[in-house]
């Protein structure tokens, strides 16, 4: 590894880190605006023109609040919890291909921090660790509501990760690779996976909502029953980190859904461009797809109510997993037929 590559990757990592945080901050603003519009309100509009400085004001407020640790809480775990949540939310963005190669200073720079040959596996692994942040936070708070939230989060994760994994396997079968870069390149020319695997996408989308703890699957933090769930005891920027990590993982999940099913940075008519123009346009196309996913996720949140816990478990184990397995088997048969193995 030469020095230039080290600099280039470090710059990309730093940029991704800042972009993820910035997008997460403005997601909070967008979410509040969207909720307001859906409820016939105006939303935040006092801080700056149209309220666009609202996230900065919120962040400042978070920093100025008292950082409280309950007397009976497990102090170290209590501090580590939000950190794990944020870490896992941010690290997933390292395997996502954000665009075609950019040519800067005579070097071809890949807009992917690490092109693992097991990209999808890495994503699932990291997302699974994400539940530890919630679990540890809920456990360390020494509060029954927090613990309930944490237990709900972990049982929900286990139930929905299976269906999520099985629906993603179909994409691996079609592409024949676990690398996210290969998956994106195989969808070149409107060859998007959504046209071949609509059912898998549907299951993946629903389970993503569950993994993100977003409505209608926001049981770990349902305010009406659990007073905020796993982050009941948290205050100041620790609470801010939990909320931030939720928005960051929403951003990253939207990116992963775009990569797996909607062609990643591919867009119709991309062969007409080349070089840096293509790179910038591909980044823009990818950003647009991510934005649409975020919009739909928020739109769903402000439309439908929360599931009851038994309904959630019923949907996960008795509906999504069987459907995902049938879908996987059919895909497997078709792939085998096309390859001439049967």
């Amino acid at each position: 590894m030469d020095t230039a590559m080290l600099i280039e990757k470090s710059a990309l990592v730093l940029l991704l880190f800042l972009i993820s945080l910035g997008v997460a901050a403005y997601q909070t603003y967008f979410e509040r605006k969207l909720a307001a519009w859906i409820q016939d309100r105006v939303g935040p509009d006092r801080a700056g023109p149209f309220g666009i400085l609202q996230p900065i004001a919120d962040g400042t407020k978070m920093f100025l609040k008292e950082d409280f640790i309950p007397a009976k809480a497990d102090k170290w775990l209590f501090i580590i919890g939000p950190g794990i949540s944020m870490f896992t939310a941010l690290i997933t963005s390292s395997v996502i291909p954000w665009g075609t190669n950019l040519n800067l200073f005579g070097r071809d720079i890949s807009l992917q921090v690490a092109d693992f040959n097991i990209g999808i596996l890495f994503v699932f692994g990291v997302v699974s660790i994400g539940v530890y942040g919630i679990m540890i936070g809920g456990w360390a708070s020494n509060n029954k509501y927090s613990l309930y939230g944490a237990i709900r989060a972990s049982s929900q994760m286990i139930s929905y990760e299976l269906a999520m994994g099985i629906s993603a396997i179909t994409i691996v079968m079609l592409t024949g690779s676990l690398s996210l870069n290969d998956i994106v390149q195989s969808q070149h020319g409107m060859n998007w996976n959504i046209f071949y695997q609509p059912l898998a996408f549907f299951i993946f989308f629903i389970t993503s909502l569950a993994e993100l703890n977003r409505a209608p699957f926001d049981l770990p933090e349902c305010e009406s029953e659990l007073i905020g769930g796993y982050h009941t005891e948290y205050s100041s920027m620790k609470l801010g980190l939990y909320l931030f990590s939720e928005y960051t993982s929403m951003f990253v999940s939207s990116a992963i859904m775009a990569v797996l099913f909607f062609g990643g940075y591919n867009f119709p008519g991309m062969d007409a461009f080349s070089g840096n123009t293509l790179a910038i346009l591909s980044i823009a196309a990818f950003a647009l797809k991510i934005f649409l996913f975020i919009f739909v996720i928020m739109w769903i949140r402000w439309t439908i109510p929360r599931f009851r816990f038994d309904q959630l478990m019923h949907l996960g184990w008795k509906v999504l997993i069987p459907v995902a397995i049938v879908n996987m088997l059919i895909t497997g048969l078709v792939v085998a037929w096309n390859q001439g193995w049967m």
Binding site: L34, W37, D40, R41, I300, T303
Partner: protein, 180 residues
Amino acid sequence: MESLTNRKKVVSDKPMTLWEKIYIPAIVGGMMTTMKHMLRRRKTIKYPEETRVFAPVYRGQHVLKRDEQGRENCTACGLCAVACPAEAITMTSAERVKGEEHLYREEKYASSYEINMLRCIFCGLCEEACPKEAIFLTDRIVTTEFERDEFIYAKDKLVEAMDDRIDITKRQFTGKRTDK
């Protein structure tokens, strides 16, 4: 029974069909509803920048009018105080002495006139009762205060200033009196 409204809805507990069980049509329907609300025009009035337009007959803070020559109309007859359902008005009368003809229109006037704005219900009956077109309710809002006694408005706040006359031409009780 004959339904009284058109909102009657027969409920039943028949099991859901498969179409209903998969929820998706209902969820999509709900999302269409929220989308409709999202695209709707906001009706919010952003208060400090925009203010709501008052109705021409809005009943706000009272004014004690002067006539064209700047003399107070009020003769302290007490009909407003009698008409007041909240008993918010008190006054004392005095006789006009020589040299005060430019201040008071008739030979009796109110030496003090107080309205307790905390008692007042802004019904406008004082305005209706007044035979001299002296008291009117205006489109001004009674301001907030920290002390209760600051809400007792005396003549210094009620009588219109000579150089700042209050326009009450929109009031429905103006110009109807023949006995001015």
